[in-house]
């Protein structure tokens, strides 16, 4: 989501006053480009160059040492024959659907609960948001310890937290909800507070019920904020890695292997950098398409 900041017109009274018009314009343009240069440089070095490189890698057989050899489109042909990747696509989509619904509902509930200024509400806001301050990898390890059947404080319950495919997914969802609900709540809260109080007052004086206010005013005016939250949540879930890599290690029996884990495995366990790059490109294209579609759908209603 990195973009080049729009260059602002430079107001240099001396230049405008003392020189010919076109020189001043040229100078302003140059200065504008100069202001944008540091950001542009970062974008080029950290985004464009790696992007071009990964596309080039995906067209080659790329050993960890030694010279790559061009073999397109072999790496892409392999994608559809990798059963682990195909399984991981289905699993990642399933995970994304579940987590997006649950996370949105939970975040909306929390945001509505702490929306109004009341005594003690600051405490709850902080408490809900606090898990978001824990690093995600650390949170995954924390849950691994908490739910461990040998030494974890919740092990005594006798529940096999990560022993079966369904429990492993359920436990991971609990982890993600705990970690991200507060952050999504914060996003929705900013949207809620941007709704002018006058609108609510007008609705109330017209005799609208609480339910009507929620469905006819809050939700429609919250739409752009919800769109932002959905895009962040869906993109983040499709790129899920830490929670499955650290918490369930893809198990049991490969039931929780996400797409990015397969890419990681191909690159760093099988040394197939070209194949991993091809999977990355496929995933990137799918994500861009999905985001474009989402933007259109969510904007379409407002226009």
């Amino acid at each position: 989501m990195t973009g080049i900041a729009p260059a602002r017109p430079v107001r240099d009274p001396q230049a405008v006053a003392g020189r010919a018009g076109h020189t001043a314009r040229r100078s302003r343009q140059l200065a504008g480009m100069l202001y944008a240069a540091p950001t542009a440089l970062i974008v080029v070095v950290l985004f464009v160059v790696p992007l071009v490189l990964v596309v080039w890698m995906s067209l080659n057989r790329w050993p960890v040492l030694g010279a790559p050899t061009f073999n397109a489109p072999a790496n892409y042909a392999k994608v559809s024959q990798d059963p682990l990747f195909l399984d991981s696509v289905l699993f990642t989509l399933k995970y994304t659907a579940i987590i997006t619904v649950l996370l949105s509902l939970l975040a909306l509930g929390l945001a509505l609960a702490v929306q109004e200024r009341r005594p003690g509400v600051a405490f709850y806001r902080a408490a809900f948001f606090l898990p978001g301050a824990v690093g995600f990898a650390a949170a995954a390890l924390l849950f691994y310890g908490l739910l461990n059947n040998d030494f974890g404080p919740f092990g005594f319950l006798g529940v096999n937290w990560i022993g079966t495919p369904n429990m492993a997914l359920t436990s991971t969802i609990m982890l993600v909800l705990w970690r991200f609900a507060g952050f999504n709540m914060l996003i929705l809260l900013t949207g809620l507070q941007a709704i002018p109080v006058e609108v609510y007052e007008a609705a109330r004086s017209d005799g609208a019920t609480r339910m009507q206010i929620f469905t006819k005013i809050t939700l429609p005016l919250l739409r752009p904020t919800i769109a932002l939250m959905l895009i962040l949540s869906i993109t983040g879930s499709l790129l899920a890695f830490d929670q499955f890599f650290i918490f369930t290690n893809g198990g049991p029996d490969n039931s929780t292997v996400s797409m990015v884990m397969v890419i990681y495995r191909n690159a760093f366990f099988r040394f197939d950098l070209g194949g991993a790059a091809a999977l990355s490109v496929v995933l990137l294209v799918a994500l861009v398409a999905l985001n474009a579609l989402q933007m259109r759908v969510l904007r379409g209603g407002r226009a």
Binding site: L34, V64, L84, N149, G163, D253, V262, F269
Partner: protein
């Protein structure tokens, strides 16, 4: 004035870009051999064999001007870290690797050819044979043995005595192993704290290390010679799986056996809660001092003895700038001095067969037994070993878990997946 400013700034940006594209090599690096003064070389090792590497490095640093800086990397992350470093040409001067990954690393060209240097060692013929075999690729040698880690059965003599078993008689067949584990479970396991046995049930490498020796002891094989065809769907592998399956079904194994992913599988025995289980020989020197432990070779269903000769090999990375300094360290680690006074002194298996009997091993008959197994054990060879057998998403772990805990009717197709992974 503003134009001058722009020119200066543009030059600065250009310089920054050029510097970024320069690849970060700070001037010409000194060539090996012509190093002026003491050199510090870097070394990586995995956490599993950290204790041994650390002792060797400390002893070397104490007695040499050149110094070795050791970095320890979590075992599970070792392979990805090596791959990432190799891709970025950032490998350390020297790195150890799990011996079974070595054929893959040599085929990728990660190690420097040290054939001529090895040939000059007076004891070259007594270097641990299976490690040397796996370090040889297309007739050239790339690695030396670094640590030897053998799988053996440990039994807890105190628990045996309490359970009414003879504490001095460990199992000599896999059937006896199962019987003794079951007895410990039945006699002492009522309160749920003591268990008959344990194994890493969600850990591909653990299965390989602890189950395969029973197959070899029975005269069987797990793969063909070239490591391209799986034989794990045949007897005696299937008999070995059946024995452990029965133990699990009867509740003789610790409660987290099925979920154990590897990091903690050796942690239960030292707590004194397990009767008898396969363990790595390198942990013998780390056991609690007051614990009475018996050591027996891993046996097949009806006898025989074998072991998985695991551990690490060490080589000089292909991109090292200090190959001579690196070789000075490597050749020292297999010298009499290092092998006897560092390795053997700490109950570790020497990397040389001519040092199997030394002044330290004589004091502990268990160490003599372990040392003698080097010649009887095996190290399986396969170019695609790691991605097939160690990788948690690889086909072998699914196969082993279905065989021990799940649905044996799936084994035929899963064995096909092992074959295709080996042949990739």
């Amino acid at each position: 004035m503003s134009r001058k400013l722009i020119a200066v700034a543009t030059a600065g940006v250009l310089a920054a870009v050029l510097a970024a594209c320069g690849g970060g090599s700070p001037g010409p690096a000194p060539q090996g051999g012509q190093d002026a003064g003491p050199v510090t070389i870097t070394m990586w090792t995995r956490a599993a064999t950290q204790a041994q590497s650390q002792r060797l490095v400390d002893a070397y640093n104490k007695s040499h001007k050149n110094q070795v800086k050791l970095t320890v990397i979590p075992t599970d992350n070792y392979q990805p870290r090596i791959a990432a470093a190799a891709g970025a040409k950032q490998l350390p001067d020297v790195f150890a690797a799990d011996v079974i990954f070595v054929p893959n690393y040599t085929s990728q060209g990660l190690f420097l050819d040290i054939t001529d240097r090895v040939a000059k060692l007076p004891f070259k013929d007594s270097l641990a044979p299976s490690h040397m075999k796996l370090g040889t690729y297309d007739g050239r040698m790339y690695t030396l043995p670094h640590t030897l880690d053998l799988s053996v059965w440990f039994w807890n003599k105190d628990l045996y005595a309490k359970a009414g078993l003879d504490p001095e008689k460990g199992p000599t067949t896999l059937k006896e192993f199962a019987e003794q584990a079951t007895t410990v479970q039945e006699k002492l396991g009522k309160d749920g704290k003591i268990h008959g046995t344990f194994f890493g049930g969600n850990c591909g490498g653990c299965y390989v290390f602890t189950f395969w020796p029973s197959v070899w002891a029975a005269g069987g094989q797990v793969m063909n010679e070239d490591g391209t065809q799986s034989l794990v769907n045949q007897s005696p592998m299937t008999d070995v799986f059946q024995t452990y399956r029965t133990l699990y079904d009867n509740g003789v194994t610790g409660p987290t056996t099925k979920e154990e992913q590897g990091p903690t599988w050796t942690g239960f025995f030292p707590k004194g809660t397990i009767g008898v289980m396969p363990m790595p020989s390198t942990t013998l020197g780390l056991m609690p001092k007051d614990m009475k432990i018996g050591v027996a070779p891993i046996a097949g269903p009806d006898g025989g003895e074998s072991t998985f000769v695991g551990g690490d090999s060490v080589g000089i990375s292909a991109t090292s700038q200090h190959p001579d300094a690196a070789w000075d360290f490597l050749s020292w680690t297999v010298s009499d001095e290092a092998q006897v006074e560092v390795m053997a002194k700490n109950k570790d298996v020497p990397a040389r067969t001519d040092l199997a009997n030394n002044k330290y091993s004589a004091a502990d008959p268990r160490v003599v037994l372990i040392n003698s197994l080097v010649a009887k054990g095996q190290t399986p060879y396969a170019l695609k070993f790691g991605q097939t057998f160690n990788d948690p998403q690889g086909p072998w772990l699914r196969f082993a878990r279905e065989a021990v805990f799940g649905d044996p009717s799936k084994l035929a197709s899963l064995n096909g997946a092992i074959d295709s992974s080996l042949q990739q």
